[in-house]
Structure formats: C-alpha cells, structure tokens
C-alpha cells in the first residue's frame, strides 16, 4: 500500500493568511495511505526541498503531494526534487491551494475546508499514479525551410552556418520572394537588389543547403525530430546540371508576349524564362502552358539553340523524399487583389477603386516594379496605359486593410511606410510631380520610421489628406479621385494621372492547404498561429515546426529577418541534442480490449494512431487494433474519451485517477 507524504506550504503569508495550514496537514494526515505530513514556510526554497528529500528517505515515501501554488509555477521544481530523492517524478503532484484557494477566498474556515478537499483529491490521485519514464526520440539534424523569400533565406543561412544541413523549398523558379521585387527599402532607402541578391547567391553556394526551386511540398509525415517530407519538383524541362545559364534559349524563343508576373504583368517574357535577370538558380524553366512546343508540338527552337543540350521536353515531375528534424514555414504573403473577386477567395473585391478596370490604378507592388531599376521601365515612373510620366499621383492607404465589413479587420502594417517611401521615390524621379496620400491613420512604429514618414511630408512635400476615398472614375486621360478631408471638414477632388492603392497583406494562396499538410493551425485570415502570442512567437503549437516572416502576420523586412533568425535559433537549440526527451503523457492502447474500430484515429489531431495487426505464432491475422505512436502523440486524450470500448488510456490522466479525484470530493 502506498506511503504518501504531504507537504503543505505557507508560501510566506500568501497561503497561511487565509488557510490554516497546520489544520490542513493534520486533517490530511488522517487520510488513508498518508504516511507523513508537515508544513513549512517556503516549500520551494532550498531548505524546503531538502525537507522533502529528507522525509522521503526517513519515511520511505512512495508518493508526494505538495500543497502549494499552481503546478504551472513549481511542478517542475518539486518533480526534480522528488527525482533527486529517488522517487519517480510522476509520483509527485501539486495541490494548488494558493491561486485556487487562499488568494480567492477570504473566509478562513471555508478556505481551509476547501484546501483540505483539494489536497485530499490529489492524495487520491497520487495513489493511482504510475511510474512513468520520459520518452526519448532521436533527432535528425537536418531542417526543412518552406519558402525562399527573405525569411526563408535568412533562416536557411543561419541554420546552415551553424553546421547543419538545410533543405530549402521554393515554389517559384527562383528564390528571392517579394523582396527581390522591391526597388528600395524603408527607412534607409537601401536598394533591395543590392542587399538581397548576395544573400541569394550565398544560399545556392552554401555547402550545407540543398535548394529545390520550382518545387512544392507534397506531404509531411512524422513528428519533432523525425519528419518525412515529400517534395514535388515540378518539371523545369531544363536539365539543371547541363545548363550554363547563357540565356540564348530565352533570346531565341519565338514566344515573346507572355505577361511577366514578376513585373506585375507590366512587361513581357518568353515561354522559356527566368523570372528576373538576377535569378538564383539562373536556370530557365519552360512555362508549359504558353510554350508552342507543348501546345502544338511544333517549334523546339530552344532545344536546337541550346549548346550544352540542356533542354529536355520529356522531363517529368520528380518526388524527392527528405528526412528532416525540424520545419520552418516561411511562405510569406500576397497582396489582396481588389479587382474582380478572385476565384476561391472568400473576400469580395472592392470594385469602387477601379482596380482591374482602370489601367492607371495600380497596387503598391506594381509601383515598386515601376520604380525599380531592374523593372520593365528601367526605373522611370510611367503610366501603364500610355507610358507618360504622371505629374500627379494619388496614393490610397488602407485599401482592404482594417475593413471589418470586407472581412479583413487587421492592419497590414507595412503600407504606411511603403507609401511614404513611394512618395519619396516618386519625387526623386519626377521633381515637378505632386504626390497626394489619402490616409486613415499613419502607423510608423519602428526605428527611424516616424522620421522617415515626416521626411516624406516635410522634405518631399507629399500632401497627406486624412480621409477615405469615396469615389474614383476615369475622365479623359485623368482619374478623378473624390474624398473627404476630415481634418478640415471639406470634400476634396483631385485629378490624378496615376493612382496607387496600398492593398491589404494577405497570406499566400494555399496557406490553408499547406497548414493541413503540416498539421499546424491558422487564424480566420489563414495566417499561421504561433504557439503563444507573446512567449512563443516563432513556434507552432505542433512541436518541431517554426514560423518566420509574413506567413504569421503582416511584417516588414527587419521584423521578418529578426523572426527568421529566431526560428533558426530554435532549430539550432533542437539540433544541439542527439535525443529529445518528451513528457511521457501519451496514450496507450490496451490491445486485449481494443476492437479495432479506430474511432480514435478519426479524432486524433496529430495522426498518431496507426493500425497494428496482431498475429499468432504461425502468422495468421488475429485482429487489427489501434496503436498510438508515442513519438507523435501530443497527449490531449481525445482518443480516450472517444473510445467506445475504453481501451485507450492516457498516461497520467487515466480514468482511475480522474474518478478517484472526483470521488474524493
């Protein structure tokens, strides 16, 4: 029979002021199975813990109940003390008589009675606790990074520099992401290409990084330390090993008029292409939808002109399986397309801003391409409709963002700053031009940000008008923008040559599908959810999966890079160990009673339940039962409450333990 020791803490005066601790110790001491009780002023202190260790030795205690604060506070402390005293740490439990009793009640008698109940419950529980051994799982020291934007690149480089292998998967033909599309970056007006492209080259040259571009995640299985990832490498139709990147295929391709999505459709590209001249890897892909050879079977020019013979029309999608120990998701964002409602989007387009119908109404990223030296205009600000230089430009902020009625209630965070940047870039290039900004609020919380914003007003003479645009229409070759200035209380009408909309930042299309493959959660906007908003901002609730960049919420470049490095640090922490120790709070199946209905598999959020065949000695199948993989099991216990035959038990929370607690009341 069990010999339990109960240790009641005064917590200075925090508990003893309202709870008669001596009485609690005395009353609990009368419970069946309790061999020793005592009380002490500070149980968590060194002498307090020594008291516990000494009592274990002297009274041959087999179970321990510490009546003190919340287990969230000191469970680890006392379990470690129990371990040091030679008692299995899972035979030590805490009765919370501080947060749940002394602090919330005033009446001493009532609080004491409640404390006795709480301790009594835990005594009954401990009697039924089992010795549990921590589960160890090996760690594969290789990381997968999904997304090759600045977040993915930074994470991959940091992990690779620490000496670990990294697999970087990017779905576009080149890495670089949105940052490669930008002209200059706020608040320093650094040229984006100048700081981005060297990093891209570092990635491709790094001996520890395996780069899969033009590839997507097909499936993810496994758990922390041991993931199996299937990557689909889409057919490039160009052999990467043979291609020298000379570019003659692109020059000779007869298809020249395919809208270039990297340039936001402002320019054109051939059917065999690299997204931009500084692309990494600098190997072209054939866009099979637009290629004459793939459409009609007649052409084949690129194959004929290719000296090394790298063009291969027969190439097929390839599935690569990678074993990794950690996954970093860095899939980034896309801009809200406010024109006609995009297929599959739950959010209605605005329509009233004329985006998609008036050619000179563009979004922020399009303006970046116009202003970029590597863009379709070579950095000249020109109207998309007729190529003239716009002399007055209206910028409209909060288009889609912070619009509860449209379904996006969050602030997109970067638009205030990039609009300020746009006004500057515009003024630097069109000296006699005038920029107007319709804004709701200006949000500039960052180092040097407010100064930058003020510079756009004070030095570059951008006119900021507080208020929203109510109507916008084409009149001749001008766009008439009507709105209100709420500061002055008047209606404003501006005839603009170009209108730039700061549209909302949204998660990448397909973010939800990827989340389901990874088993991570996302919010109602489909941004990925971190494990704890404040204290675990780069981890997912699913162990071993980390987040970096705008896939978690709107972020600017400094924040993204910081989070990417943080995610890398978390991965390195994981990789610093050869084996992982996990809490052994996992479900176990009683194979004798299991009927193999696998209802547990349907409810398991981790996919931890597998089928197991039970065979006799001669190999005949007797029955199929459920098996819980302890490495994958998260320990929620949903399977146990679901099991119709009561043959799954969650260690540490067995029916017996819970019933004993309820019955002790």
């Amino acid at each position: 029979m069990s010999r339990i020791g109960v240790f009641v803490c005064h917590c200075g005066e925090n508990i003893s002021r309202t709870v008669d601790v001596e009485k609690v110790a005395a009353e609990v001491g009368r419970l069946f199975g309790v061999a020793y009780t005592c009380d002490y002023k500070y149980m968590c202190s060194d002498p307090g813990q020594n008291l516990l260790k000494k009592a274990v030795a002297e009274h041959k205690l087999e179970g321990i109940v510490v009546a003190a604060c919340s287990p969230r506070m000191h469970e680890k402390t006392f379990r470690n003390a129990a371990k040091a005293a030679g008692v299995n740490p899972f035979l030590c439990e805490m009765a919370n008589i501080r947060e749940h009793c002394s602090w919330v009640h005033e009446d001493r008698d009532e609080a004491t009675a409640k404390a006795i109940d709480i301790v009594g419950m835990m005594v009954e529980r401990v009697k039924r606790n089992k010795k549990l051994q921590p589960i160890t799982v090996p760690v594969t020291k290789k990381a997968l990074v999904i997304g090759g934007g600045i977040a993915g690149i930074q994470t991959a480089l940091d992990i690779a520099d620490s000496g670990h292998q990294v697999v970087l998967v990017e779905r576009e033909p080149s890495i670089g992401g949105h940052m490669a599309q930008l002209s200059e970056t706020f608040p320093t007006l650094d040229c984006s290409q100048c700081i981005m492209t060297p990093k891209m080259v570092d990635v491709v040259n790094h001996p520890n990084i395996t780069l899969h571009t033009y590839a997507e995640i097909e499936a993810v299985d496994g758990y922390i330390g041991n993931f199996q990832v299937k990557v689909r490498k889409k057919a490039r139709s160009v052999d990467m090993a043979k291609c020298t990147g000379c570019g003659i295929c692109m020059a000779k391709c007869p298809q020249k008029k395919i809208p270039n999505s990297f340039d936001k459709n402002l320019g054109f590209r051939p059917a065999i292409y690299v997204p931009f001249p500084q692309a990494v890897p600098n190997t072209p892909v054939i866009d099979r939808e637009n290629c004459t050879y793939f459409k009609t079977g007649k052409c084949g020019v690129c194959q004929k002109v290719c000296g090394p013979g790298a063009v291969d029309y027969t190439q097929e999608d390839e599935i690569v399986v990678e074993q990794v120990g950690a996954v970093v998701v860095a899939t980034g964002f896309q801009l809200y397309d406010i024109g006609p409602k995009p297929a599959g989007s739950p959010i209605e387009g605005y329509g009233e801003f004329g985006y998609g119908t008036i050619p000179d109404v563009i979004d922020g990223l399009t303006f970046e391409r116009l202003a970029s030296a590597s863009g379709p205009t070579g950095g000249k600000i020109q109207r998309p409709s007729d190529g003239t230089e716009p002399k007055s430009v209206v910028f409209v902020q909060c288009v889609g963002s912070r619009a509860r009625e449209k379904g996006i209630s969050y602030c997109s965070k970067i638009c205030c700053m990039y609009t300020a940047k746009h006004t500057m870039l515009y003024k630097h290039k069109v000296h006699d031009g005038q920029a107007y900004v319709f804004f709701m609020d200006a949000r500039t919380p960052g180092k040097g940000y407010d100064e930058f914003w003020r510079r756009s007003i004070e030095e570059e003479e951008a006119v900021y008008i507080r208020g929203m645009v109510s109507r916008l229409y084409q009149k001749g070759d001008k766009i008439v923008v009507m709105g209100s200035d709420v500061h002055v209380g008047v209606q404003v009408e501006i005839e603009a040559d170009l209108v730039v909309l700061a549209t909302a930042v949204q998660p990448r299309e397909g973010a939800d599908t990827l989340a389901q493959k990874l088993g991570i959660s996302y919010d109602k906007y489909h941004f990925y959810s971190e494990a704890h908003a404040k204290l675990r901002p780069v981890e997912c609730a699913t162990a071993g999966i980390y987040l970096a960049g705008a896939c978690q919420g709107p972020k600017d470049i400094p924040d993204t890079v910081a989070q990417a490095s943080a995610a890398a640090a978390k991965v390195m922490t994981l990789f610093s160990r050869n084996e992982l120790e996990r809490e052994p709070i996992v479900a176990k199946v009683n194979e004798r009673f299991c009927v193999g209905c696998l209802a547990c598999r349907k409810v398991c959020p981790y996919g931890a339940v597998e089928e197991k065949e039970i065979r006799d000695r001669s190999g005949n199948l007797i029955k199929v039962v459920a098996y819980v993989n302890p490495g994958v099991c998260g320990g929620c216990g949903t399977c146990q409450a679901t099991c119709p035959s009561k043959s799954v038990e969650l260690d540490g929370y067995t029916d017996e333990q819970i019933m004993a607690m309820i019955e002790a009341l």
Binding site: R72, H100, G637
Partner: protein, 167 residues
C-alpha cells in the same frame, strides 16, 4: 470583487472540469489578481477538454456535486488543435441525454475561458454557484448512489471507507 458574508442554508458543491492550458491558467490568473469568488468550486485538471469523458460529469453528480462546470480553450485556440471541438460536439449530445434523464441543465455549464480571462472565470463560478444554490441540492442521483452501496451504511469515516475499498 467582494463576497458578502451572508451564511446560506445550502452551500452547493461545484465540480469544475477544466483544461490545463486555458481555463486552469485563467483560474490561476484570477488567483494572482486576487479576485474573490465563492469557495464552492473544486477544480479537476485535464490536459484538454477533449479528454473529458461525459461519464466524469455523471460520476460527479452521483458523488455529490450539485453543479458541474466544463471549460476549455476558445474554439480555434486549442493547444491540441481540435480537442475542444470534439468536446463541444460530445457535450452537445450529452446535454440532450442529461435532459432526458431528468437533470436540470442549468446545473451543467460548458464554456470557454482563455488564460487571459480571469474575470470571466470568476463571473462564471459566481453565477453558477448562485444558480445552483437557487435550485437546491441535487438529490436524485445521490440517492441512487446510496442505494448502490452494499451495506446501506454511509461511509463517513476513513476507516469505513478503507474497509469498503479493501473489498
């Protein structure tokens, strides 16, 4: 919050079945914020509301609880991703059953309390305690339980209980 010192004839016993990540932490927060609430509630901690078997609720009623509170994370906030959704469905069905059996449904409360909602925890416990106090003790199930006992004698002393458990 100040609790009045009026002595009532009947003090209900409330059992709270809560998840460790949200509601238990919310109750902790109520504690660290020194909010006051009636001392009638006893908390049983689970890893997740998904672990809570409806049988526990029945057992609590049978063993003398006058009210039962089940609480976990808000939908979408579950630490285990979907446990609270399973719990929600399970209890939606279970409430029907309980109603059929004849238990006043206002004795059973199911709700979401996040780790940041100490105030909501206090409000909920206070309300439920007051409501159950109005309803009076739940005797039907308890009588059933007494009749179940082999000797018919009430096991009031630890010695008797021990003897009973030893059989």
């Amino acid at each position: 919050m100040h609790v009045d010192k009026v002595k009532h004839d009947f003090e209900p016993k409330i059992v709270a079945l809560v998840c460790t990540w949200c509601t238990y932490a919310g109750a902790d927060l109520a504690g660290t914020s020194r909010m006051q609430y009636p001392p009638n509630v006893r908390v049983v901690k689970f890893p997740c509301t998904g672990r809570i078997d409806p049988v526990f609720i029945l057992r609590a009623f049978q063993k003398g609880a006058d009210g039962v509170l089940v609480s976990g994370c808000h939908p979408g906030d579950c630490h285990y991703m979907a446990g609270n959704f399973h719990a929600r469905r399970r209890f939606a069905a279970f409430r029907k059953l309980l109603e059929f059996v004849g238990v006043d449904l206002s004795r059973l409360q199911f709700s979401w309390v996040s780790a940041a909602e100490g105030g909501k925890w206090v409000e909920m416990v206070t309300e439920l305690t007051e409501r159950v106090r109005q309803l009076g003790p739940l005797t039907e199930f308890r009588e059933l339980e007494l009749a179940e006992q082999w000797s018919g004698s009430t096991l009031t002393t630890p010695e008797l209980k021990e003897a009973y458990q030893a059989i």
